[in-house]
Symmetry: C2
Subunit: 121 residues, 2 copies
């Protein structure tokens, strides 16, 4: 389980929250038309709907940050979608979940590249 | 700030923790000798030391998960290092922090590839 989260309170101080016992699933999407506002709106809603899968324990959905341009920084993607699970089993539930299958079916036409990183501590 | 974290308690239920107001800095390292146990031990200690930078609010350090092999999954890296900050300013503090500079100086010989993804919600 996400043991690192259990003791969190409003008084948690910087640097204290090291997450342990989690599977992090981080997906980067490159939309075919990243400037298309209709596509963006559809996709942002779809990602929010995807977060309803009940095995997701923590999430962060974002876009490239305006950090310094460096050779090692990959900022050509359109959306970052990061979710954490308690276990590989919970990630497998997610992969086969109707909400996830519907997400792919309804939105895969919008992207032309996806890169996934799964990591465990 | 990491607003999504504030209301967290032991009773937080699945799917509730959507992090908002964060800059996620996710780094993937490919070690030159990923099977070298001395290198791995040094690097794992170095990443733990790096987490002492006080602007880091949340972290997850990992290795590739044994998820299903799919064309979109990138699992050739050696280590995943994810940290979250409250702001771009806090990430800039981190970049120039003596602990971070020492991390690079002491360990950059160990890796031959680094990819960084910075994202904001």
């Amino acid at each position: 389980m996400l043991a690192g989260l259990s003791p969190l309170t409003k008084n948690t101080t910087a640097g204290e929250v090291s997450i342990n016992g989690a599977l992090m699933h981080h997906v980067f999407f490159w939309l075919k038309e990243p400037e298309n506002k209709v596509h963006r709106k559809q996709f942002e809603k779809a990602m929010n709907d995807l977060l309803k899968v009940e095995t997701i324990k923590l999430s962060h959905v974002g876009i490239p940050a305006a950090t310094e341009e460096r050779g090692v920084v990959e900022n050509s993607y359109t959306y970052s979608f990061m979710v954490m699970f308690d276990s590989l089993g919970d990630q497998n539930v997610y992969q086969k979940h109707p909400i996830h299958l519907k997400f792919i079916e309804d939105n895969s036409d919008l992207w032309n590249k996806v890169v996934v990183y799964d990591s465990v501590d």
